[in-house]
């Protein structure tokens, strides 16, 4: 064991009460950091999961119809005094198979699925409801939104004339798996579907409005033969979505909306949550640093005689500095181990306090190895930095003075 480490550890071991107190102090600080990170991380993850569980990360659609008004008069041309925005009709993405292929080659895109979306009525007997028709390709759509675990009855099967509807719609129309439902579009096309499954995505509105049918059926109903209205994408890193969307706009000229754009408020909420969490953690780190520094300053005063002896015996200044830096680092590391255990315990305790009916925690905590490693690294570096001033002070002690008056 290096000389400096030997002396540092012995100083810490012999300063029992001081060492225990400061270790506890650092431990509580690190526990707060771990607990807070785990809680906020868990909350955010579940919030995002809940939002993005039923939503593609990016939706790509055909550009909107625009009018090109004439603004400068020239002979034989009249200038429009007022420009009316054209009504947007359902349009297919031109050359979508190529676009789909292109999108799938983008490095950050993990999955892409072509869909046809449009408005329709669901009719059964005298009941009719307006619904959002979603024509999908089951194999690729599963990778955008996995409906499997969200099925309450039947299965997620949307081939031929099978359709999958939400629990609200099923209740409104009084249908269950195996019953028939007629879907009719405003344009007058209609088709009878067999209810193959009923889903519950945890959102009443979506449960009442979403109707999944096959891509082909939707194309026929919405008069979009061979075309698709949107491509839904999933990206590898959810917070990259906006950047990927911008890239798609730039490369294809299509319209691309990320979940971040469509959920501005959620994003603002997440960001301010993160910011307040960072702020609290920053002040905890400052408090821990001050604690370590003050304990070491006291220790330098207490140990000035020993430092003088060490110097008289040939210990070099840099070795004295190292003795105190090691003490700071060891305090930081030891405290962070203690704090990680405490923080993990606190998190599990907190998570066990409130449970959802299905047994999952109401307050999800997200404890990752990275969190512990990060806390340990921060505490160790903090300890090291906090020890710099006391170490300098110890190094500047004059052995002659100490031995003469000590």
């Amino acid at each position: 064991m290096p000389f400096e480490v030997l002396v540092a550890l012995r100083f810490l071991r012999e300063g029992k009460i001081q060492t225990i107190l400061i270790l506890s102090g650092i431990g509580v600080g690190v526990a707060v950091i771990v607990f807070l990170s785990a809680l906020i991380g868990g909350l955010q993850e579940s919030l995002i999961e809940r939002t993005l569980g039923t939503q593609a990360h990016i939706v790509v659609r055909a550009p909107e119809d625009l009018v090109r008004p004439v603004t400068e008069s020239s002979p034989g041309l009249a200038v429009a005094p007022r420009v009316e925005r054209p009504a947007q009709r359902l349009r297919s993405i031109v050359g979508w198979p190529q676009t789909l292929e292109l999108l799938l080659t983008l490095p950050r895109v993990r999955a892409a699925s072509p869909t046809v979306a449009g408005a329709a009525f669901a009719l059964r007997g005298l009941a009719n409801r307006s619904v959002a028709l979603r024509g999908i390709e089951p194999s690729s759509f599963r990778r955008i939104i996995d409906m499997g675990p969200r099925m309450t009855a039947g299965e997620f099967r949307v081939d031929a004339t099978n359709a999958v509807i939400g629990v609200e719609l099923a209740a409104d129309l009084g249908v269950s798996v195996g019953d028939k439902v007629r879907l009719e579009t405003p344009a007058g096309r209609s088709e009878v579907f067999l209810v193959a499954g009923v889903f519950d995505v945890g959102n009443k509105d979506l449960n009442a409005r979403w109707v999944f049918v096959s891509l082909r059926a939707a194309q026929t109903l919405l008069d979009l033969a061979g075309g698709i209205s949107t491509i839904e994408l999933k990206v590898a890193e959810i917070f990259d979505a906006e950047r990927v969307a911008e890239e798609i706009v730039a490369r294809t000229g299509l319209q691309a909306d990320s979940w971040m754009k469509l959920n501005q408020q959620l994003l603002t909420g997440l960001r301010s949550q993160s910011a307040s969490s960072w702020m609290i953690q920053f002040f905890v780190v400052v408090a821990v640093a001050l604690g370590i520094a003050s304990v070491l300053v006291v220790s330098v005063v207490q140990k000035s005689r020993e430092i003088g002896i060490l110097k008289a015996m040939g210990t070099r200044t840099v070795q004295v500095v190292r003795i105190f830096l090691v003490q700071g680092a060891v305090l930081g590391l030891g405290g962070s181990l203690l704090g990680s255990a405490l923080g993990a315990g606190l998190s599990f305790f907190f998570a066990s306090l409130a449970r959802n009916p299905d047994g999952t925690a109401t307050f999800p905590v997200n404890l990752t190895p990275a969190l512990f490693l990060g806390a340990a690294a921060i505490a160790t570096v903090t300890g090291l930095l906090a020890a710099v001033a006391p170490a300098e002070r110890a190094a500047s002690l004059d052995p002659g003075d100490v031995i003469r008056y000590g």
């Binding site: 064991m1 290096p2 000389f3 030997l6 012995r10 100083f11 071991r13 012999e14 005689r305 020993e306 002896i309 060490l310 110097k311 008289a312 015996m313 040939g314 210990t315 070099r316 200044t317 840099v318 070795q319 004059d398 052995p399 002659g400 031995i403 003469r404 000590g406």
Partner: protein, 232 residues
């Protein structure tokens, strides 16, 4: 005549910045190898100041100190530490062992500081020195668990562990009862002979001084007399 270990040339030392008090006035002194020297004089005559200068624990205001032929005037703190570790051993009045460590570790400490970590043979060397001072059975005792005389003997072993040519001792028996003091002094004489180490011992005790090879008497910051003891 052997080359002197230490040479002081016109060394003065002043303290204070506004009211300057000169404690040492132009000291010239040579210490020879293996010489056992007593430094006596009344309180305030400058004995300890001189010892601290010799130990490179303090710097002279003017004059030169040569250690083993090398001028120490321009050395940095770290260079002085290195010279100290290599050429000088210290025995202080209040034993000054490190209380956090065992007797054995205290003896090893100068070797550890010099080499940076424990190496083969250090433990054995420290143990053999503890045996020499009759404390082998106390090797693993904390310093604070030893009596004053025992602590001082451990301090002697520590001063010798790097085989320095010169050991400086400031009132090594001043804090001990007569019997322990006698034991420690006997030990100093014995190791001086066996290890061929020069000793410079500051003392108030006439009987101790009388048993040294050479007696330097300081009065008012000057060396008043320098006698060699015929008996030794």
């Amino acid at each position: 005549m052997a080359e002197p270990l230490v040479v002081l040339e016109g060394v003065t030392k002043s303290f204070g910045t506004e009211v300057v008090t000169e404690i040492l006035h132009g000291i010239d002194l040579e210490v020879l190898p293996s010489e056992f020297t007593a430094l006596v004089g009344p309180s305030g005559s400058g004995k300890s100041t001189l010892l601290n200068l010799l130990g490179l624990l303090d710097r002279p205001t003017s004059g030169r100190i040569l250690l083993a032929g090398r001028d120490t005037t321009g050395l940095t703190d770290d260079e002085r530490s290195a010279v100290r570790g290599r050429s000088l051993g210290f025995v202080f009045q209040f034993h000054h062992l490190l209380p956090e460590f065992t007797a054995l570790e205290n003896v090893m400490m100068p070797m550890l500081a010099a080499r940076g970590r424990e190496e083969k043979g250090m433990r054995e060397r420290a143990l053999s020195l503890l045996e020499e001072i009759g404390l082998a059975d106390r090797a693993l005792y904390k310093a604070t668990k030893l009596s004053g005389g025992q602590q001082q003997r451990v301090a002697v072993a520590r001063a010798l562990v790097l085989e320095p040519p010169l050991v400086l001792a400031d009132e090594p028996t001043g804090n001990l009862d007569t019997e322990s003091g006698k034991q420690v002094f006997e030990l100093l004489r014995k190791v001086s002979t066996e290890h061929r180490t020069a000793f410079l011992v500051v003392t108030h005790d006439e009987r101790i001084a009388a048993r040294c090879d050479r007696i330097l008497t300081m009065v008012d910051g000057r060396i008043r007399s320098d006698e060699r003891n015929a008996r030794a």
